[in-house]
């Protein structure tokens, strides 16, 4: 099997299958789920049975149904936030690395300042000024995350911009945007793609820690991270409730990263062969 002109490795096939299965399951949640998101169907933390085959949660709601509905919130939020933070972070990072040192200094300081303020204080400040709606949630996490992407992409791009081929492009009189896109981006891609695979997972969990602060998804809507949190104490008496959403996060993370690894390897090969 081939994709984008490259042979699909076994790992990548598994990764794509996991992602695809997740997308199908959560897109058709309304038809697949045996119960509604907020329906109380039985006892608290009832073990898995024929009807509720992943058991019930801390209020007696069907775990499987909540997993499907929660996936809609979690996956779409995490994708949106990660995409936003990467576009923002990469553009800023490359700009800092390829233009003059004043812009670099200004952007780096700005990011340093944002990163240096403890997150708890920052989150509470945002909360008190902007409130607790979903757009605020997306914006806040995206901006916080983009600072980390910025540092990484700047560090990688710095190394590349001093290479002979970029210098050559500069001397040819190529435009900044062209240099970023054609010379810097392809060479900086591997660490950035790897970072994307992890950020995605961190974002799933970060949404949960913020909903703990009251910023984020409103009950009874589910999200995977909060489902782990709400059911955590069940672990003490051997309940599987918190492991179910955790496994969902783990599975998707592994799937995404298998695909990331595939990108990494075709990227390496492509350039290696061309050299």
């Amino acid at each position: 099997m081939r994709l984008l002109g490259h042979r699909l490795s076994g790992g990548a096939a598994v990764g794509f299958a996991i992602i695809l299965a997740n997308i199908v399951a959560i897109s058709f949640a309304r038809w697949i789920a045996p119960y509604g998101e907020a329906d109380l169907v039985g006892d608290v933390w009832a073990p898995p049975s024929g009807a509720d085959w992943l058991g019930l949660d801390n209020l007696g709601r069907d775990m499987f149904s909540r997993l499907l509905f929660g996936g809609q919130t979690s996956v779409s939020l995490a994708l949106l936030i990660t995409a936003l933070s990467f576009s923002l972070g990469i553009v800023m990072g490359f700009t800092a690395a390829t233009t003059n040192r004043w812009i670099d200094a200004a952007l780096s300081r700005l990011v340093d300042i944002i990163m240096a303020i403890p997150q708890l204080i920052l989150a509470l400040m945002v909360l008190s000024v902007l409130g607790t709606s979903i757009p605020v949630l997306i914006g806040t996490i995206a901006i916080l995350d983009s600072t980390r992407v910025f540092r990484l992409s700047r560090a990688v791009a710095m190394n590349i911009t001093v290479m002979e081929y970029v210098e050559a492009a500069r001397l040819r009189g190529e435009k900044l945007w062209w240099i970023m896109r054609r010379e810097v981006l392809p060479n900086a891609l591997p660490p950035l793609i790897a970072e994307f695979g992890l950020r995605f997972c961190f974002t799933l969990l970060f949404i949960a820690s913020l909903s703990f602060l009251g910023l984020g998804v409103q009950p009874p809507e589910a999200d995977w991270g909060s489902m782990v949190r709400d059911n955590a104490t069940a672990i003490n008496f051997g309940g599987i409730a918190p492991l179910v959403p955790a496994a969902a996060i783990a599975l998707l993370t592994i799937g995404v990263n298998l695909v990331v690894d595939w990108f990494l390897s075709i990227h390496g090969r492509a350039h290696g062969e061309g050299a």
């Binding site: 608290v44 209020l59 509470l124 602060l213 009251g214 409103q218 009950p219 009874p220 104490t233 003490n236």
Partner: protein, 526 residues
């Protein structure tokens, strides 16, 4: 229940064994939890306390800003540490009866406006000074001063004068009569320290402070000159701050702590299976509330309030949020074990039809927003979701607005039209009603204002005839039940737990940790 009392005496006297006690208790319909706790309490009745040993307490509610000044106590860690160091004039015992402590006896003048407390002789502070009436006056006035930050200030508001009428006698004069004065001075804020000091831990308590790291731990050791021989058995105590519920349970199971407070109802079953651990559970006076502001639409409409009261499934909330470790509430704050509990008030039940009837009568047809946070009480967000589900069945659209725990009491409580709140038990019915339901009470969380209620409340306070007083409280509770904006879905059990080698722990219904005084009551079996 005479039979139940008989059973308990028989057990204490050793006439029946544990197994027989449990089976007969079950036959009487006594809950296993209650029977268990009696059993735990009775097991030592025949034993003599053992002296010595090192006790480790694991308590929640500790913060790095904690201080030893009793005026600042707001959470368990400081409250329990404080009772190791300080004594109050009186104490409330396990049966919610007032008992002598630093005051040996007391007497109320007719009309209950003047109270005379006789002090115990020969009591010394940790610094060697002897206790006098001047110390008591100084310590009580600490809370009454104009710039006092004490949470007990309101409690003492009706006092017009406190004076040392003799070296060992304190006279308290009130603006209006209050038959409950001896209970009021038992409040844990009102610890007695030596005159002129800054309340830095020097008191008359059974334990002397050795070191205190706020938010981490405190170490205390036995007071060689303690005034009471029936308390203070362990040699040294370490009070550890363990704010995380799971961490406390783990500390107890792994032996890193001997006594812990506030056990999550969800882990009680697990602990009961553990031989090395005893769960101390008792039906409590603490309760959770959903106050609806009677001065804001749509809650200013009595029918709408009634619709809400019928639209909440209390049984389901007790079963799910407390896992049965609690009692269903009836929208009035007096607990069943209180002598002034009005037993004949009909219990609200989840009734979608009645709710729909009152909803229609109220003419309201929109949605209401319930603002909650787990900072209000543990499980508040869960309880709100159950409320949402049952209200939906009654045709009421309830939206949940979850907000941060941080700043909850500042920004939400007493401000939003509909939110969640909790109340710890108060030793007397009057205190509970005065603090939350009197029209001008600063914590009147449902903004319910009834002049006839206020009038009767003040009359009841000074009434010394028990039968008349009981009827008055009955009427007061009925008014709250029928009309007020407070929904009280449940009373939660007080659940502490200890290692099985910790003996002498008797739970009290009003406060955790045996009335915050577990430290000096327990001993360690080898």
């Amino acid at each position: 229940m005479a039979e139940w009392d008989y059973l308990k005496t028989a057990l204490a006297a050793g006439r029946i064994g544990r197994r027989e006690f449990m089976s007969r208790a079950a036959a009487l319909g006594v809950s296993a939890a209650l029977a268990d706790s009696v059993l735990a309490g009775a097991a030592f009745a025949a034993e003599t306390p053992k002296k010595g040993g090192h006790l480790i307490l694991g308590l929640n509610g500790a913060a790095s800003g904690d201080s030893l000044d009793p005026a600042t106590y707001t959470a368990t860690f400081a409250q329990v540490l404080g009772q190791q160091l300080y004594n109050t004039l009186t104490e409330v015992d396990e049966k919610v009866k007032v008992q002598p402590a630093l005051a040996e006896s007391w007497e109320g003048k007719p009309g209950a406006k003047e109270w005379i407390f006789k002090l115990r002789k020969g009591v010394t502070f940790h610094n060697g000074k002897t206790l006098t009436a001047a110390d008591v006056v100084y310590s009580l006035n600490h809370h009454r001063a104009k710039d006092s930050k004490s949470a007990a200030k309101a409690l003492l508001a009706s006092i017009s004068e406190i004076k040392a009428s003799a070296p060992d006698e304190v006279t308290i004069t009130l603006e209006s009569g209050n038959a409950d004065m001896p209970y009021i001075v038992a409040d844990y804020h009102l610890g007695i320290g030596p005159e002129g000091t800054k309340f830095d831990g020097v008191g008359t308590g059974c334990y002397i402070l050795e070191s205190f790291e706020p938010g981490v731990r405190a170490r205390t050791k036995i007071n060689p000159n303690k005034w009471r021989s029936d308390r203070g058995f362990v040699e040294s105590v370490e009070t550890l701050a363990i704010n995380d519920t799971t961490a406390r349970v783990n500390a107890l199971i792994s032996g890193s702590a001997h006594l812990i407070n506030r056990v999550d109802p969800k882990t009680v079953g697990l602990l009961k299976n553990n031989k090395k651990v005893v769960v101390h559970e008792i039906a409590g006076a603490a309760h959770y509330t959903f106050p609806m502001r009677c001065d804001m639409a749509p809650f200013d409409n009595k029918d709408f309030r009634l619709a809400m009261k019928y639209a909440i499934d209390r049984e389901a909330i007790v079963k799910t949020v407390l896992l049965g470790h609690g009692k269903v509430g009836n929208d009035q704050p007096i607990a069943t074990f209180d002598p002034y509990y009005a037993a004949d008030i009909p219990q609200y039940k989840f009734d979608p039809d009645k709710a729909k009837f009152h909803l229609k009568k109220s003419g309201f047809s929109g949605q209401v927003v319930l603002t909650v946070s787990d900072g209000a009480f543990t499980g508040a967000v869960d309880a709100a979701q159950l409320f949402q589900a049952s209200a939906g069945k009654a045709g009421i659209t309830l939206l949940i607005d979850r907000v941060p725990a941080d700043g909850y009491w500042d920004n939400v409580w007493l401000k939003k039209p509909f939110c969640a709140s909790y109340w710890d038990g108060r030793p007397t019915a009057d205190q509970m009603l005065t603090v939350v339901y009197k029209s001008d009470a600063p914590w009147n969380e449902s903004f319910w204002k009834r002049p006839d209620f206020d009038k009767l409340l003040i009359e009841a306070r000074a009434e010394l005839d028990p039968a008349k007083r009981k009827q008055m409280y009955h009427d007061l509770e009925l008014m709250i039940h029928d009309d007020s904006g407070n929904i009280i879905p449940m009373f939660n059990n007080t659940i502490d737990a200890g290692a099985s080698k910790v003996k002498g722990f008797v739970p009290t219904p009003t406060l955790q940790m045996s009335g915050y005084r577990a430290t000096e009551k327990v001993w360690l079996e080898a």
